[in-house]
Amino acid sequence: MKESSGDRLFNIANITILVIIGIVTLFPLYYVFVVSFATPYEYVEKNGFILFPTEWTLASYKYLLTTSAFMKSTGVSAFLATVGTALSLVVTAGIAFGLSRKRLRGRKIILMLILFTILFNPGIIPQYILVRDLGLINSVWSLILPVLSSGWYVILMKSFFDNIPTELEEAATIDGCNDLGIFFRIVLPLSIPALVAFGLFYAVAYWNTFFNAILFINDFDKVPLQVVLRNMLIDSDTSTSGAAAVEMVSEQQLPAQTIKMAAVVISTLPILLIYPFLQKHFAKGVMLGSVKG
């Protein structure tokens, strides 16, 4: 089939628009990346408009890697993203699998309760009191346990498990497998795409833990990366909010812009790197269970 001139025009327009959108999306990333390798002086000299630094330097990265707060908090965030995600997945999948089996008594009520947590949020203070009375204040677990499992994901996963035929389960039971065995040896391997997708959601959420850390963590060397970052990057707008806002920032001592950019690069890198590998499972995992083939 030959392309008509109309087709060609359409393609050219399409490609042009997509390329432009691509550039617009990628440029901020590129800019952050480049500025993180520039010298602060050049940044001041060019009013922050640097497309390509005249002098590449690793000074910003060196500075960051020697600040204890930055390194420690990266460790905390990595711990949250790995251990937290693993726990969250096991718990979420466990609940979802149980709920997807028709022989569980009180299924409906449990589902209602889970739905209830999605609709109604107790608010900050009850949450704080709960964490305090559990003795979790200033412990890294205060950032994991309260958010261990999300009602949304339980329900999504349940609908995914609903599609696993009961016949499989029966066959396994005949071969002498108990419920736990079925869960770990049959169900989980079958649901790798879903696990990967939800795992990524959880991991990103854990990596971005911020506000709960502000509330629950006392020692600054136990805070996750986002808290340290915010401390470095805070950039308020002082023009319109009058005296009070100015007061807030008057004693702020911010690192140079290049250091901020380096911090952004380091903190977004892990997520950026993981993403392409999980991409292929992604579309599959989220959609599964939504369409019955």
Partner: protein, 502 residues
Amino acid sequence: MSHKEISIKHGFKSVLIGGLLLSTLLTGCTTDSSSSEADGGPVKISIMSDFTIAQPPSEDNPVLLELEKRTNTDLDITWVSGPDYIDRLNVVLSSGDLPDLIKIDDVTNPVFQQLVEQGAFWDLTPYVEEYENLMNYPEVIWKNTSIDGKNFVIPVARPLDGFVTPSIRKDWLDELGLEVPQTTDELYEVLKAFKENKPDGEDPTYGYTMRADYWLQSVFTGARDKWKEVDGELVDVTLEPEMREALLYKHKLYNEGLIPPDYAVMKETQFWDLATGGRAGLTAETIEATWRWTYDQWKRESSVDWLPLTALSAPNREPYAEQFRGYIGCIAIPKSVPEEKMKKILSLVDYGASEEGGTLTLYGIEGTHYNEEDGFKVATEQAVKDSVGVGAFGKMFMKFDPYMYAYAPGMPKEKFDRNKQIIDQKEPISEPDPAIGLVSETHLKMGADYTKKIDDLKIQVIMGKQPIEAWDKYVEELKQDATYQKIIEEMNAAYKAREESY
């Protein structure tokens, strides 16, 4: 569809909290004071405070250890980063889980006010008088932080003068053969000359960055923020003709391109990029912070000279200079702390306000963190590493020093002397804000909406999106608005009550 963190709610519902407060206060655990005090060991004190630098002092920070040694205490400090402090503070206050010494953003904090009413904090009035260093704080600061004529808090003192000050590129003025502006009309001419001549050759060059532009309005209204005292009454300057003048003046600056067209949405760093990139000749900050922000620029080009202005006067008015409220938050001690320990905490805070203690918390240890050079404390690299300075310990302890805002690290002596002189000139004329520390119930409930509306309309008028008549009309509406008038009445009542009780 992200997995749910608790969402930040701005503006706490005091109704909801009120109920919780009492219940948690009764059940809230208190930190038990250890028995080591009895045998003369160090007293354990738990503290919660904010900080505004990259990272707070660690447990083994030399300044902290030195402070503990000299005061015979064992300090357990929870540092919360500045911008988020208020969230944490409100949660901690509401949960009743209070440390022995807690930093409060301001006495007007509604949750704190409720707790004081319920008797959850020590009334320090009878005690503080014995601490001479604390008594060195200016009377006005104590007065402004009082509740019902009593001192439930100790203010964390700051200088009254040298806070937000417009600074101008003196080298540009010299290059163009202009005088330092004294009036708003002269200022306008200067800004125009900056824009047209582009002394640093940047295109476009603006006059004023518009950072913290509230001072420009103050020059016209004579009020630091919203309230001005006239014959013993508080007047809301929003409704006065002076505010209209200020808006017209800013509109003129906007129209002629003397300020950046998108100033209303600009962020902190953007203002400074303009100023240090040679694209603007006027900006505003505390004298100390202006120096820190422009330090790199000066290092590169030593002819650059940002001169803080002493005062400015609007047509037919007195020269205006801002007087800061003189404190940057306050510290309070909960009732759960026994009296003996409370006195110990007071003496710790008092030590922080003394010459010796103030030097330690602000500059660190001599030889390690600073060296004396011709009467000047010059900070070393180590000082930055050890988080010494106003951004950490200075949030709790402060020796009152009227010239604190005149100095920042790296400043040559002649500049420091010049800044001191400017502060001395400001001191007799600077205008205090009479409404500091006053609370209006109605304002807490409804004030934010009005503030937002007023601010939005101001920006629209300045940008010419709305004619000045729209402002006039709105002012008329506010004059008729029962709720708005109630705020004015309540503020006046609070003002009079304080004048009588203190």
